[in-house]
Amino acid sequence: MFEDAENFADIFRGGLPYLLIALPVILICSANPVLASSEFSVQRMSQFDVNGVSYGCRASALSLEAKSLYTWSTGRHCVVAKLQDISIEQFREIRQKAGGLVILLPKNVSAMTFEEKEHLNLLEQSMLSQANSIPIYFSPYNEELERVISDVTRTSSINNDGKAQRSSAAAELFASISANGYQVIVSGASHTASKNSKIPIIQGELAATSKILKQVENGGEANSKLPLIIIAAHLNTFGLYNEYPLNADAAVLLTLADVFSKLHNTPNAVPKYRLLFLLTESGTLLNFQGVKKWLDENVQLQNVDFVLCLDTITQALNAEAGSLYMHVSKPPKEGTAMNEFFKLLKINAAQYENITVDGVHKKINLADQLVAWEHERFSMKRLPAFTISALKSPKEPIRSTIFKDSEERIIEQTRLHAKIIAESLAHYIYGIQEPSEIFADKLQIHHKMIKFYMQLKSALHNNDLKNAFEKYLKNVKIMYDKPDTRDPDFMLYDGQEARLNVYHVKPAVFDLFLTIIICAYLASVYFFIQYFPAMYDTVCKLTKAQTQVTQSNSNNTKSKLN
């Protein structure tokens, strides 16, 4: 083919049909090459269904142009912003009209001011309160993404200035050409319902040892007839996104199991009570589904003195020491076990840093889809139940927050609350009326204990939780609450982990502009080549003149010599 080609254009004349076929084939075959400028690992916002109502983020695909909070306008824009910069109003608008949202999480939440933390909390609550049809992703703090955000915001401010001035069309055109754009692409995420979504429920019992059992039997009581106290808490495995929030309640529950098992093993100190520890991995967000399931499985609970539920025993953010609340569905009557415990709790709390305990009465609203407190599930089954919490109202946004303050303060406060509850419970069990410290010396509740129990992960991830239960308790059982296939009470979703790519792109106008520049350049190259012979001639004349001069010079010298 090359031999036949008389000139360059002949090649194309002959090969054009092939080229026309081959080029599209090549284009289709070769996927768009990905040269990642910056890649971030991101978390998709949590997604779950409760009682057929959807919550969280309902989408996952994202490939849009990045815009700042102030410049986005259509569904073809993805808003990229820092969490603390988004107002609730802005979020509402974004979730309705924008195409996506990428949020950079704050670097250090504990260093923020009280108001900023409050804002985070309220924003978090409004995000989780309903289903969002746009994909929302969270990135842990990193400088590169922050630079992208500041870049996007800065170009927007330049554009805003341009709008304000409107001085010249050329200036505006130039601004649009020189603007830096970013393309945001997320890969690896999905939003399919998880096939094995289940809620683990773990329980364990602390009963009198056989030696004591005999004594009791002598007294004519079987072990199963001993009065039962249920201590219930929940472990949250996710919040706004797929990460463990502060699980102070589970830590307190395990601490109680720890110290009471030590107490049970102390000779002559065995109480005539059975303690049942119940930990479900479904909190406020999942409407305490685990407890519902557990109550359905354990219909015949007898001889239950009361059910002690733990909920937000320590606030994860802006924790204020000073008060605990005992929430009940029905005010306890004089002489009941609950009332007695409440009195003991008040007395004991006053011993430690003057903490006050107030009773809060809230009737169960059966019309409400969501249960306000965990104890309501028990109360509905006519079990005497109450919740101890640091919060006064069940509607506080802090309940499901994923953000945490610095650990030391939280641990100290949790330890104190655990101590108060443990002391009150022990006082109740042994029937001691006067305040006296039972958990001292060997039975002391340490910081380390709390810290360790706070790090426990879901029973679906590892066996730490099961091992901890088995270490201190007997009859440890794990059951799983799976959603019904036809009418699921709850549903969890897959595809939380994803990769976010941010590409540096230029607007379409820029490429057009570039084409004009390149054309001008090529035209100059063309003229240069066209005028090259003329230039060649000039140089020729120059050299000719020189050679003539040198020749005449040499002639002169020759003639002189002659």
Partner: protein, 233 residues
């Protein structure tokens, strides 16, 4: 939409690289002589030369010295690498001796064939993969401009090599030609070294390279015209 835009950008880059080559071919008179096949041959010799160079580099030089000590400009490594560039000159000499041609056309054929082969082999893949990516970068436009400069440089080298091989070249001009050839070979050392010392930006680097290529081109043109008139081509 994004995909089309990147393809458009790729088209921009391709135009910037290859159109000057086409214009040179078309308007320098080569197309009238049907020198296309000769250009291909020159390209073939370019490939052969590069293979020989790679063989030499791989055989005689330690890869550590070649890569230098990490980042930055390494004088010794560059010097060693450049010394192998003598093979380039041999390649040019081979093309000039093997390819029949008349006067100017011979030189343009050699330079163009050589530069075209280089640009297709070294830039083609990079542009195909890079400029079509979603990520925008000025690097590709810069590389395209640089390949334009290389075209001028290679035609200059072909001219110098031809002048060097002539016996009827004025004796007083011989040292100048030799110096220019040496400068071409060791361009990697002195030019890159200078640029890294002066810490020029990417755009000024290209500008300096273009300036130096045109100065050297003009000097060789000056020498060439003298000889061409003397022997009457």
């Amino acid at each position: 939409m994004c995909n089309e835009m990147t393809l458009y950008h790729f088209g921009n880059c391709i135009a910037l690289v290859y159109v000057p080559y086409y214009l040179t071919y078309k308007y320098s008179g080569l197309s009238e002589y049907g020198a296309f096949w000769k250009c291909i041959q020159a390209g073939g010799i370019y490939i052969f030369t590069q293979l020989c160079k790679m063989l030499v580099l791989a055989t005689f030089f330690d890869s550590d010295t070649l890569n230098g000590s990490g980042e930055g400009f390494s004088f010794l490594a560059e010097l060693l690498k450049s010394s192998v560039n003598v093979a380039d000159l041999l390649g040019f000499a081979l093309i000039l001796s093997r390819i029949p041609g008349k006067g100017h056309n011979k030189l343009i054929t050699t330079g163009l064939g050589w530069a075209a082969a280089e640009v297709i082999l070294s830039r083609g893949i990079m542009l195909w993969v890079g400029a079509r990516g979603t990520e925008f970068s000025w690097v590709y436009i810069l590389k395209c401009l640089e390949s334009n400069v290389l075209l001028v440089q290679h035609i200059t080298t072909a001219t110098l090599m031809w002048l060097f091989s002539r016996h009827d070249l004025n004796k007083s001009l011989k040292p100048l030609v030799t110096i220019l050839l040496a400068l071409t070979i060791f361009k990697g050392v002195w030019l890159e070294g200078l640029l890294s010392v002066l810490t020029f930006g990417p755009w000024s680097t290209i500008a300096v390279k273009a300036l130096i290529a045109s100065i050297m081109g003009f000097m060789s043109l000056h020498v060439y015209t003298g000889l061409a008139q003397q022997i009457g081509i």
